[in-house]
């Protein structure tokens, strides 16, 4: 499949040395879970900000595959299919 770009929110940039973009190389057929597994391996603290220990996406973490939010697709099983990803935290600070 090749490389895709993963855009990070400012609130997580320090986990990658301040970078707002990660490049992830993927094999054909790779899913969102495969992308997150790679992020886990390279940046474990960033990885656990995104998923809990059971591997589920955290409640306030939203990941767009191309123009679509992953929960509206097949969740972590969604094929990435060459699309870039954008990670967006919910605006959920409350009062």
């Amino acid at each position: 499949m090749g490389a895709i770009d993963v855009k990070l929110p400012a609130a997580l940039a320090s986990e990658c040395g301040g970078a707002r973009h990660l490049t992830v190389d993927l094999p054909p057929g790779a899913t969102l879970a495969d992308v997150l597994d790679q992020i886990d391996a390279r940046h474990p603290r960033l990885g656990r900000r995104l998923r809990d220990e059971a591997g589920h996406l955290r409640r306030y973490v939203n990941i767009y595959i191309g123009d679509d939010e992953s929960r509206r697709l097949q969740g972590l099983a969604t094929p990435v299919d060459g699309h870039d990803l954008q990670i967006l935290p919910s605006i959920a600070g409350g009062a």
């Binding site: 474990p44 656990r48 900000r49 589920h56 955290r58 973490v61």
Partner: protein
């Protein structure tokens, strides 16, 4: 000596420092992480280790819970690269509440055991740290709070079927080490009861029998009571504030004695034993279960010096006008200073006070913070 106070609130950690407990410098909300999202985290758990100077913070962020530590008296903070605690993934899922047990799905339930919130951190001997967590579980660290191991024996206790979720969630919220015996530990669960181990967590005994309830079908159940806090005095006597009266147990297997006769109410959360005087305990009563304001709308601490037989209001300097904020279960502590311990408490109105044990003169450390969830203090060089 100087003093450091860690104030965990609904919106971040605040710190207060003083050389004399009279004049305070307050900072916060503290950015524990480099990006700063912890400045809006809920801080339920803080712990100080005067022996090493290490402090720990359990922060519940919207990127999940984690634990930060500082070895320079809260000047700088570090977080482990790898997750400090993770449930074994082969552990059968345990529903969070009776309603879920009955088949009523909870919002956001993914039917997996995952760490939802860190409720309590406590230092033990050496590098030992314990953590009390939601869902109801106890964890042990032997590297100063970097990585934790799940305690299977407490999770598997046969009485776990009587445990349920309090309003705050199902959790081990209280951990009471025994400074005379590293193998002995007392923990409390809401709702669930009080449990004790004498073999470093390999086996657990429920010791809540004798604490009565008015909210269940059985007035004196063997377990399942909603325990709000437990404290241990210098002689080893345990005191607890339940979702009802306060109790005392000189020997847990000898039962519990109701000690609320002269308290202004049969309800409260925070209760803290004097660090060196046996039988001296402070409590911060709340009106009642259905009136979560201070009795007569007067904020104040009550003190016993005779093991709870008699309680009297303690100290001067607190507001005379009506006050509606209560003290949560971890909202009070002492700094355990050897010569003259300082007492501290914070309220859901965001006010934090301190008083020297020798004078009882309450002084305001900080006002109008976010609602205070926990307060911990220690002497620093």
């Amino acid at each position: 000596m100087a003093y450091l106070v860690l104030i965990g609130t609904r919106k971040g950690l605040f710190t207060a420092r003083s050389d004399d407990r009279a004049h305070w410098s307050v900072d916060g909300p503290v950015k524990l992480d480099d990006d700063g999202f912890t400045a809006v985290a809920e801080i339920y758990a803080a712990a100080c280790d005067p022996a090493t100077g290490r402090v720990l913070i359990g922060a519940d962020t919207f990127f999940g819970p984690s634990i930060w530590h500082s070895d320079d008296h809260a000047a700088t903070w570090s977080e482990p690269q790898n997750t400090p605690m993770a449930f074994p993934q082969d552990l059968p899922y345990r529903p969070l509440d009776f309603s879920e047990t009955a088949g009523i799905d909870q919002p956001d339930s993914d039917k997996t055991n995952t760490v939802k919130r860190i409720w309590q951190l406590a230092f033990g001997p050496g590098d030992r740290v314990w953590a009390g967590v939601e869902p109801t579980s106890l964890w042990t660290s032997d590297d100063g709070g970097q990585t934790f191991t799940f305690n299977q024996a407490l999770w598997d206790h046969p009485q776990h079927t009587t445990w349920a979720s309090g309003a705050g969630g199902p959790a081990v919220h209280t951990i009471v080490p025994d400074p005379t015996d590293p193998d002995t530990l007392t923990v409390a669960i809401s709702s669930g009861g009080i449990y004790q181990t004498h073999d470093d967590g390999k086996t657990w005994t429920g010791i809540t029998q004798g604490i009565t309830v008015d909210y269940g079908p059985d007035e004196a159940p063997e377990s399942g009571q909603c325990i709000h806090k437990v404290t241990r005095d210098a002689a080893g006597t345990l005191f607890t504030q339940s979702h009802g009266p306060a109790y005392r147990a000189t020997r847990p297997d000898g039962g519990w004695t109701n000690i609320s006769a002269t308290l202004p109410s049969n309800f409260g959360f925070a209760i803290v034993a004097h660090p060196t005087r046996p039988g001296t305990v402070m409590a911060w009563p709340v009106g009642e279960s259905m009136d979560r304001t201070p009795p007569d709308h007067r904020i104040g601490a009550w003190r016993t010096t005779d093991n709870g037989e008699t309680w009297t209001p303690w100290g001067t300097g607190l507001p005379e006008e009506p006050y509606y904020g209560t003290v949560m279960r971890d909202g009070a502590c002492t700094d355990a200073a050897a010569d003259d311990p300082g007492w501290y408490f914070g309220t859901r109105c965001g006010d934090v006070w301190t008083a020297d044990d020798s004078t009882g003169e309450w002084r305001l450390i900080a006002a109008h913070l976010p609602d205070v969830l926990c307060v911990r203090a220690m002497e620093t060089p």
